[in-house]
Structures are given as structure tokens and as C-alpha cells.
């Protein structure tokens, strides 16, 4: 009877001491002095001997004897947390000026309806963009990119929710934006090549000095006047230098615009061409 009462706890004891198989195999009823574990471990030490490990992972488990499993079950007495209703949760704080808001037409709608998408003008022509500065074109490019993001968001939502119509309007709008972006690239490429040709032509111009010493541009009228208008020209040059210093911070773009490039940079690039 006593042995039967110990049985349910035998499985538990085996679980506790199951870190090493040799210890788990030891009969629990024997005392340490009578233990034969050491002798069992010493057997079969010749090369090629079978290992002394118990290959039955479920040894001793019995549903009839209610031993339970040898491994620890992942259960605990701790009460489960109860989910809080969404209305009682604190409001999630988001950045009101986050850049991802630019992916939507406004703060409340995720995509424009097709009628709104159809309300757009034509694309910019290259001739219209030729009169824009580098900064304007750079910013217009990013405005176009954000517009395309908005259109793509609308397309994605339309596919996801199976809203049906609207693809033709979105495609037409996207086509105009891409035409504008293509015109921006056309304008800048053309400006670049014209600037390269102008630098080549400037080497043959007597009024232009690309060596880097002295002023880059000396008007012919000034050469013919000689010393008469030196004072006036100096004043003009000083005023021009001041204006150049004022405009310089605005023109330090990542890629220099040929129209707004400083004279020093143009001279530095001239020999490479």
C-alpha cells in the first residue's frame, strides 16, 4: 500500500531529477550506499560498445498507473490576463506631421474616389520647365513622387477591398504625373549638355577667362573704354560680389545647376571637359 501511494510521486521525482539520464535511472527506493549506478556506468567501455543511455523517452509512463509525463507540462496556476476593451485603452499617440501622411489624400480618407482622381490638368511641357530653377525642378520632382505614392495607395486599397471602378482614372492621372517627371529629366539633361557646350565655346570667347585668375567675364565695352570707367566698374563689381554672396547659399544644391553654378566651380570643371 505504501508503495502504491508512492507511485504517483515517482513520476514527479523522475521529472525533477531528469537532467542527467544516469541519475534518472537510479532506483529511488535504494539508499546511496547500495547504489549500483557507478558500476553500471563502468560497464562496456571497450571501443564500439553500445551506450548506456536509456533510449526510451517514455519509460515509466503509464496511463493505468497515472504517472503523468516525464517532462514538465507548461501549465501554471497564474490567472490569465483579461483583455481590455478597446474603448478603455488609452489613445495611441502618433506624430501629426509624420511623413507617411503624404501617402493619403487627407487625414480622413484613404483613397480618392474616381471622380476626384479624374480632376487633374495636363502635364508640364518641357518649354514651361526650361524657365524654372534647379530648386524648383528638384521640389517639383518630389511633389510628383508623392502624388504617385498617393495614386499607388488608392490602387492598393481598390484591389484590397475590391472597390471596383477607378483604375482608368488613376492610370490617367499617373500618366500625366509621369509625363511631368519625364519633362523634368528632359529639361535637366538638356541644360547639362548645353552647359558643357557653352564651356567649350567659352574657351574661344575673348571676353571670358576660364583660367581662374581674375574675373571670369570682362565685357568688351570695358576693354575698349580702357581706364576711363575703372572706378564705376569697381563699384559694379563689388555690388555684384555682394549679390553673389547672397545668392550662394541658395545655389548649393546636391548637383550643381548649370544656370546657378558659381563661377569658381565652372572654372574648376572646365579643364576636365
Amino acid at each position: 500500500m505504501a508503495a502504491a501511494a508512492m507511485r504517483p510521486s515517482m513520476g514527479a521525482l523522475g521529472r525533477i531529477s531528469s537532467s542527467t539520464p544516469a541519475v534518472a535511472l537510479r532506483p529511488l527506493t535504494q539508499t546511496a550506499s547500495l547504489s549500483t549506478t557507478a558500476a553500471l556506468l563502468k560497464r562496456h567501455k571497450y571501443p564500439g560498445a553500445r551506450d548506456n543511455k536509456d533510449h526510451n523517452k517514455k519509460r515509466g509512463e503509464s496511463a493505468l498507473r497515472r504517472t503523468g509525463t516525464r517532462w514538465r507540462l507548461s501549465m501554471s496556476d497564474e490567472p490569465l490576463p483579461r483583455p481590455v476593451p478597446r474603448s478603455e485603452l488609452p489613445a495611441i499617440e502618433t506624430d501629426p506631421d509624420h511623413g507617411l501622411w503624404d501617402f493619403f489624400p487627407n487625414r480622413t480618407t484613404v483613397a480618392n474616389p474616381p471622380e476626384e482622381d479624374a480632376k487633374h490638368g495636363r502635364s508640364w511641357s518641357v518649354e514651361e520647365l526650361r524657365h524654372k530653377s534647379w530648386d524648383d525642378l528638384h521640389r517639383l520632382w518630389w511633389v510628383c513622387a508623392k502624388e504617385r505614392n498617393r495614386i499607388a495607395t488608392g490602387n492598393w486599397e481598390r484591389n484590397k477591398r475590391r472597390l471596383g471602378f477607378g483604375e482608368a482614372e488613376a492610370t490617367g492621372r499617373d500618366r500625366e504625373v509621369r509625363a511631368t517627371m519625364r519633362a523634368i529629366k528632359h529639361t535637366l539633361t538638356e541644360r547639362m549638355y548645353t552647359w558643357q557646350d557653352a564651356v567649350k565655346e567659352a574657351t574661344n570667347d575673348p571676353e571670358i577667362n576660364l583660367s581662374g585668375d581674375g574675373p571670369a567675364f570682362t565685357p568688351r565695352d570695358y576693354l575698349e573704354e580702357g581706364e576711363a570707367g575703372v572706378a564705376e566698374e569697381d563699384q559694379v563689381a563689388e555690388a555684384a560680389e555682394e549679390t553673389a554672396e547672397k545668392t550662394e547659399p541658395a545655389t548649393t544644391a546636391a548637383i550643381p545647376d548649370p544656370t546657378t553654378i558659381p563661377a569658381s566651380k565652372a572654372q574648376a570643371e572646365a579643364p576636365r571637359l
Binding site: H138, R139, T180, P215, A244
Partner: protein, 102 residues
């Protein structure tokens, strides 16, 4: 990337050129550029000075949109020379008229 003219005349006019069609040394790529380097053990080291970053300029107060109103007809330039807007003489004349400093 295009096959040579001989191959274009044969079968590659309609088929794409892959690495299996040519000898060693052909790198097709994905037109994405390098972002790092490979190690001799087969790993890859990302070099952050090679990774592209795109900086959006400040758009506050910028009023241009990707579209122009359809009430305004598409404008075309009037140029005197045959080169048109690509005329370097015109570029230089404008540069001179704008004081020849920048």
C-alpha cells in the same frame, strides 16, 4: 544591355539575354547598383556610404503641382537658331546678361 548585332539577327531578337547564353564574365545585374562588398568567406558587408539615401527638399510653401490647368494651352518655345534651346551661344549670352558671375 543588348546582345550584339550578330546575335540580334539570329535568335535573340525576341528572347532575353541571360547568363546562360554567353561566356564567362557577363554580369546581368538588377540595375540596382552595389551596396557593399563580398567577403572571401561568402558573407556580405553593407557599406553605408554606398547605400543610397534620398533627401527630400523642404516643400513648405511650394505651390507647384504635377499638373497644369487645361485652360492654358501647351506652350512651345520660339527659338531663332536651329539648335533651339540647346544653343550654347544663347546660354553664354544669357550668362553674360546675368552679370557673368555664376
Amino acid at each position: 544591355m543588348q546582345p550584339t548585332r550578330v546575335l540580334q539577327a539570329l535568335r535573340y531578337r525576341r528572347l532575353r539575354l541571360t547568363t546562360k547564353d554567353v561566356n564567362k564574365g557577363f554580369y546581368k545585374g538588377t540595375r540596382t547598383g552595389s551596396m557593399g562588398r563580398h567577403t572571401k568567406h561568402g558573407g556580405f558587408i553593407v557599406e553605408w556610404d554606398k547605400v543610397r539615401t534620398y533627401v527630400c527638399p523642404p516643400l513648405d510653401g511650394f505651390k507647384l503641382t504635377p499638373f497644369v490647368t487645361r485652360n492654358m494651352p501647351r506652350t512651345f518655345g520660339q527659338y531663332e537658331t536651329k539648335l533651339g534651346p540647346k544653343d550654347p551661344a544663347m546660354y553664354l549670352a544669357r550668362w553674360k546678361s546675368e552679370n557673368g558671375l555664376d
